[in-house]
Amino acid sequence: MSLRLFLPRDTTALALGADAVAIALQRAAAERDLPLQLVRNGSRGLFWLEPLLEAEHAGRRIAFGPVTVAAVPSLLEALAGDPGAHPLCLGATAELPYLQSQQRVSFARAGLGDPLCLDSYRSQQGFVGLQRALHLAPRDIVSAVTESGLRGRGGAAFPAGIKWQTVLDTPGEQKYIVCNADEGDSGTFADRLLMEADPYQLLEGMIIAGLAVGATQGYIYLRSEYPRAAEILAQAIARARAEHYLGDDIRGSGRAFELHLRSGAGAYICGEETALLESLEGRRGTVRAKPPLPAVHGLFGRPTVVNNVLTLAAVTTIMEKGAAFYRDLGTGRSRGTLAVQLAGNIRRGGLVELAFGATLRTLVEDYGGGTRSGRPVRAIQVGGPLGAYLPKSQWDTPLDYEAFAAIGAMLGHGGVVVFDDSVDMAQQARFAMEFCAAESCGKCTPCRIGSVRGVEVLDRVIARQDTARQIDLLRDLCGTMEAGSLCAMGGLTPYPVRSALDHFAEDFS
C-alpha cells in the first residue's frame, strides 16, 4: 500500500520551508522503495505549525509539525510503525483543539485537498450552491443573501444583499462583478488563505453573484504581493473554464459568465473600491466621490458589485445551506462567521473562524496562547492599519461590528495584531501617519498633507519637544483629517493615533 501524505504549498508553509521538506520526502521515499503519494494541499491555517505534514493512517489524518528536513527519515520510519511515537506527532488533525473548536464554514475545506482538483472540490459540496442558483430567479438569490444577514467582509460591513439588489434593479446591458482581493491590511491573510486553499469557492461565489444581478463579466483584482495566489487562481480559472463553469454556457444552462484576473501594483489605496475601479480601468488609483455608487455607476461606468473575497465566498454557503443556516450563526447585527487572523507577536498565529461574538481575549489568549516573545501582551491592533490599538481594559469586547464601533474601534477585515510590552506606542502612532502619507491617493489635503504634518508633530513628541502643545496639535490634526477626508484612509488614520494617545498616554510624556 502506498503512503499518502499531505504537505501544504501555501505561502506561509513555503515561507517556512515546505518545498525543501517535500523534496526530502520524495528522495527518502525513493531510497526506501516506498510508493509515496504526496498531495500538495492548501493550509489549514494553523500557521504556527507549518510546515504541517499530514498522513493518512488507519482511516484518519494524523498531523506532524512543524516538520523539518532533518526530521524526514525518522518520520518515514514512524509512519511505517507507530506514528504516535514520533516527537512531532500532534495526533489526529481534526481533533487538534485549535481546529476542532472552530466553526469552519468558509474555511471548512481549507487544507483538505489539492486546491486545484475539481473532483476534490465537487466531492466536498463544491458547486452545490451554484447548481441551486442556476435554478433560481435572480431576485430569489438576492433575497437569500439579504435574509442571511451577510455584511461585507472587506471592512465597511455593508449589507451584501442591499448592494446586490441595487445592481439587480439598475438597468444596464453590461454589469460586472468585481472581487476585491487587494487585502492590504497588515495582520490579514484570510483572503489569501482562501484563494490558495480553496480557489473554486471564490469562483463559485462570483458566478452566483453574476447570476443574481445579471452580470456576465467578472474581475478579480489581486494584490501583486500574492504571487502564489496569482498562480493558483490563474490555473483555477483555466480549469473551471475547461469544465464549463465559466464561459458562455455554464454547465449547459445557457447562462454566461467570464472571469478575468488582474494584478494590482502595490498601492494600499487600491483596496478602496472606487480607487480599485479606477485602477482596473487603467488609471491612477484615486478615490472617486460617492455617489454615484459603484452599484449604479461602477466599472467602465456600468452597474457593478464590488465585494471582498470572503463576502463572495460566503454566498456559496448561503446558497448551499440556506439563508437561515448562515443567519443563525452570530450575534446582534453581525451574522455568520468571522475569519479572525491572529498575527504579529503571537504564539499560535493563524486563522480562527468563529461565529461573531467571541471576545478578543478568547482569541488572543485561548487560541493564540499569548505572545511569541513570552512577554505580556500590551496592545492589540484590530482591523488593520486604520484600526484602533486596544488596551487590556477593552479585550473583553465581543467580536461584533457594533460592539467595536461602540468603543471607537473597528473589526475591519478581522486582522488582530498583537504587541508585547516592548512596544513604543508613540512610534506606532507615528507609523500610522507615515503609512497614510505613503499611501494616500492625494486627493484630499487633510489626508495628503495632514499625515505628513502628523509625522512631524509625532517626531517632536518622540523627541520630547514642547510635548503638551504638540499633542494638542496632533489631536487637532486628527479632527481635521477625520472631518475633511473623502475616504477612510484619511478619515480613519486618526483611530490608531488617538487610541494610542488615549490608552497609552505614558508613551507620550
Binding site: 494590482g264 480601468e281 504579529g344 512610534q427
Partner: protein
C-alpha cells in the same frame, strides 16, 4: 535582460509586442505595464510615448500611472529584489530592527541598489504572512520569521559579500 537591450531595437520590439497584446483589452494599461516590466525588468522612458500613442492617452497620463504605483520602476533593478515588510505585524516581531540591519548591511536605503548590483532594497506593506513575521520577499519567494542572521544567510546565498 539588461539595460542595453532595453534601449535597443529588441527592447522596442518587445514593447511593441506587449502593446499589441493589450491595446484592445479594456482598462489594459496596468496589465500592459506589468508585462513590459516583466519582460524588460523596468519600464524604459521610450515605452511611454509608444504606449500613449497606442492607447490614445497623453504621455503625462501614462507617466502619471507609472509613478502612482509602487511596483513600477523606470530604471533597472539589481539582479535581485529584496522587499522588507514594514507593516505592523512585522513591527510587532522586530521588523524595525531587521530593516535597520538590512539597510546597514547593504549600505543602502529603500529604492537603492547595492554597489555590486546584486540587490535592490524595497519597502513593502504586508506580504500576507503575518502569523509568522517578520517577512521578507526575495524575488518571488517569501520568507518567514526572518531575523538578522537569517537575512544574512539569504543574502549570502545570493553571493552578496559579508558587508562592505
Amino acid at each position: 535582460m539588461g539595460v542595453e537591450q532595453a534601449n535597443s531595437e529588441a527592447g522596442d520590439q518587445l514593447i511593441a509586442a506587449q502593446i499589441a497584446r493589450f491595446r484592445d483589452v479594456p482598462g489594459g494599461l496596468l496589465p500592459l505595464l506589468h508585462a513590459v516590466q516583466a519582460s524588460l525588468g523596468f519600464i524604459p522612458a521610450t515605452a511611454v510615448p509608444a504606449i500613449a500613442g497606442a492607447l490614445g492617452l497623453s504621455r503625462a497620463e501614462v507617466h502619471g500611472v507609472i509613478s502612482f504605483y509602487h511596483d513600477f520602476r523606470t530604471a533597472p533593478a539589481g539582479r535581485h529584489v529584496l522587499q522588507l515588510c514594514r507593516a505592523e505585524a512585522c513591527q510587532a516581531m522586530g521588523g524595525r530592527a531587521l530593516e535597520a540591519h538590512a539597510r546597514a548591511r547593504l549600505g543602502i536605503d529603500y529604492g537603492g541598489t547595492s554597489s555590486d548590483g546584486a540587490v535592490t532594497l524595497e519597502a513593502v506593506y504586508c506580504l500576507g504572512n503575518c502569523a509568522c513575521s517578520p517577512s521578507v520577499r526575495l524575488d518571488d519567494a517569501i520568507h518567514a520569521r526572518v531575523d538578522n542572521a537569517r537575512l544574512d544567510e539569504l543574502l549570502a546565498e545570493l553571493g552578496v559579500g559579508a558587508g562592505e
